[in-house]
């Protein structure tokens, strides 16, 4: 580790992995509830399990992004972090606020939680992914602002690189667009319209900038390719992401009461959204092929290549599948969406966070890379999780196609719940793939505890 203050990244990474495990546990509960409806009822109802599963994902990715920023920014800026103590304080604030929120979800019913947390003062709750109580939302804003202040000051006092500028742009965008979660018009169309400004402009806008910056950082470190070359790619990727992603928001505006032109705008621009992801794939492989050194951390290189491929498949290809308005007319809000959501989040954001953790964690623990034994286990976890996710996606896609057919295309369409029974076989197979994913995740966690001959730092 080049700068002492980079060490604050470690608790963020540990918390991220811990919450990741919890997220998958709730994923398994949820998957079971798809086929055994009253599983764990009334302790954990379906809607609560779903809320916890998705909220945990977002929170642990945020932990991952913050940890990544605290690790990368001092090294990029060639200076110590502005305030490591502030970073550590915010870690505890965020962790405790997050834990209290989850406990709130699990112990009181949602309406009571809303009553006790000031939802009658400013109603922001009850919307998918933005279910957090008002207090938690305010907490997120405070943590984000302090975090941004900390890393922005670090960048300002040190060297400015393309990577840190793009990362800052992405993180500031993340904070700014989150503010729309406080805006909750009573008109349902307007509500959804601005809701997507958080959800879409995060994952198909500013998060892509964060992802590209993280990937570029790790690629510079593990390949030794000139910074100039990597930065040029970075600029092209973010330009493509913004050109396609911003107006691409329109692909969420079909059939919800917005003007018809969104069908054209959404279709045209979002059809191009795979391009930045494809550029990232080409970027990762190209840089690794042109590498000037053999980095001993093979696992990190594997994750970096993996995120390039899986993000393109999950976000790019599976997104394109149902992005055109005439197709989406049938597939809107079906299991096809769930298939896309799973692989896109895993491929783009889960894997890129694991990439940086995989690269940085050994260094934070005082060595260049983990022992070969630990790396082999980590690579096993890569393949187990990735292949399991491919199967989850394929089974959900099959379920989705069947669902669309039975529910919306067939001569005598069936009701939603009747169709759910028909596709149960695919839900079972998805659940078993989930179990394999969980085993992969346990292997990943175990890889941190495998000893063996290690290379000292600086090697």
């Amino acid at each position: 580790m080049k700068y002492k203050s980079q060490a604050v990244a470690m608790p963020y990474f540990i918390a991220a992995i811990g919450l990741f495990v919890a997220q998958i546990v709730f994923g398994l509960i949820l998957g079971m509830q798809y086929v055994v409806g009253d599983f764990l009822f009334p302790e954990i109802p379906f809607n609560v399990a779903r809320m916890v599963h998705t909220n945990l994902l977002i929170v642990w990715l945020l932990f991952g992004f913050m940890g990544a920023a605290y690790y990368m920014v001092p090294e990029e800026s060639e200076t110590e972090l502005f305030s490591p103590r502030l970073a550590l304080a915010m870690f505890w604030v965020f962790l405790i606020a997050g834990a209290l929120t989850i406990i709130g979800y699990l112990t009181v019913d949602y309406a009571t939680l809303a009553k006790y947390t000031g939802n009658d003062i400013l109603a922001t709750m009850g919307r998918e992914f933005l279910e957090q109580p008002l207090l938690t939302k305010i907490g997120i804003v405070v943590v984000a602002l302090v975090f941004l202040f900390n890393i922005t000051m670090t960048v300002l006092k040190g060297r400015k690189t393309a990577i840190s500028v793009v990362l800052l742009l992405g993180l500031w965008g993340l904070a700014i667009f989150f503010l729309f979660s406080f805006y909750n018009p009573t008109n349902l169309v307007l509500d959804k319209y601005y809701w997507w400004w958080v959800v879409h402009l995060w994952v198909e806008g500013v998060w892509e900038l964060i992802m590209a910056a993280l990937l570029a950082f790790v690629l510079i470190k593990v390949t030794g390719v000139d910074r100039e070359v990597i930065e040029k790619w970075l600029y092209v990727i973010i330009a493509l992401a913004l050109v396609t992603g911003i107006i691409g928001t329109g692909h969420h505006y079909y059939w919800i009461g917005t003007p018809e032109y969104w069908q054209w705008w959404g279709s045209i621009f979002s059809a191009l959204e795979p391009i930045p992801f494809f550029a990232m794939t080409v970027f990762a492989f190209n840089m690794v092929n042109r590498r000037r050194r053999e980095h001993p951390n093979k696992a990190a290189v594997l994750w970096a290549l993996g995120t390039g491929v899986m993000a393109f498949l999950g976000a790019g290809v599976w997104g394109f599948l149902h992005t055109l308005a005439p197709v989406n007319y049938y597939t809107h809000g079906s299991q096809i969406t769930a298939a896309h959501g799973h692989m896109a989040f895993y491929g783009a954001y889960v894997m890129v966070v694991i990439t940086i953790i995989s690269y940085a964690m050994p260094i934070l623990r005082g060595r260049a890379c983990n022992s070969p034994k630990a790396q082999v286990l980590e690579m096993w976890s890569f393949w187990l999780m990735t292949i399991a996710m491919v199967f989850i996606t394929l089974f959900l896609t099959a379920a989705g196609i069947l669902q669309v057919w039975l529910q919306r295309v067939a001569e005598e369409p069936m009701s939603f719940m009747a169709v759910q029974d028909q596709v149960a076989l695919f839900y079972w197979m998805r659940e078993w793939s989930g179990v394999v994913f969980f085993i992969g995740l346990l292997a990943y966690v175990a890889s941190f505890f495998v000893k063996g001959k290690e290379q000292p730092a600086g090697a």
Partner: protein, 197 residues
């Protein structure tokens, strides 16, 4: 005695790309975006030829034609600026860039007039499929003209300081390539939306 060897061919210089590779990737992505838009237009038109033909007639073709001339002239001025820079006369090239910016400003003024007339006639994105395409395509292009002007402005600032020369052409060539893209797209857009029936 051996026959004299044929003269060696002149050493070939590898083909070089004017401007930066990154700007070309960006230009290709832009062209792809417009290309998809044009294809969508073609599909929509094929489904509704009468509506498209009728509403197309109401467009101001004279304004479109003048704008075509303005963009082409701007492109010519940009070429002169690049040649001046290549000849080591960066400051001289700056004047050509001002001329190009003037033409671009003329385009913007005429376009704003066209939009004002359209909006006062009640044309909007939702008034018809043709109007949706007319407004979207021209506005998308309009934004590119504005970006092109920002780029030309940056080139002008640098050229005025004598930054460009035979050994430093990357910036001005990249900017010029972008401007020509803006021009090229209009050369397809104008006949497609305003003229062809």
């Amino acid at each position: 005695m051996r026959a004299a060897c044929p003269p060696l061919p002149a050493p070939r210089t590898p083909p070089t790309l004017a401007g930066d590779l990154a700007i070309w990737i960006f230009i290709l992505a832009e062209l792809l975006a417009f290309g998809v838009f044009f294809i969508a237009y073609a599909f929509a038109r094929a489904n509704n030829p009468e509506l498209f033909a009728a509403e197309q007639l109401a467009l101001n073709r004279d304004a479109g034609a003048i704008n075509t001339l303005l963009l082409l002239t701007a492109s010519y001025f940009v070429v002169r600026a690049v040649h001046a820079a290549e000849a080591g006369q960066s400051r001289h090239g700056a004047r050509w860039l001002v001329a190009a910016l003037g033409c671009a400003a003329g385009f913007v003024a005429i376009k704003i007039g066209e939009y004002a007339a359209a909006f006062s006639a009640g044309i909007s994105l939702s008034s018809s499929t043709f109007h949706m395409f007319y407004l979207s395509l021209t506005f998308f292009h309009f934004m590119h003209v504005l970006l092109g002007m920002v780029i030309l402005g940056a080139l002008w600032l640098n050229a005025r300081r004598g930054l460009y020369g035979p050994h430093n052409m990357n910036g001005i060539e990249s900017g010029a390539a972008y401007w020509h893209m803006v021009d090229l797209v209009w050369l397809i857009l104008f006949p497609l939306v305003y003229v062809i029936r």
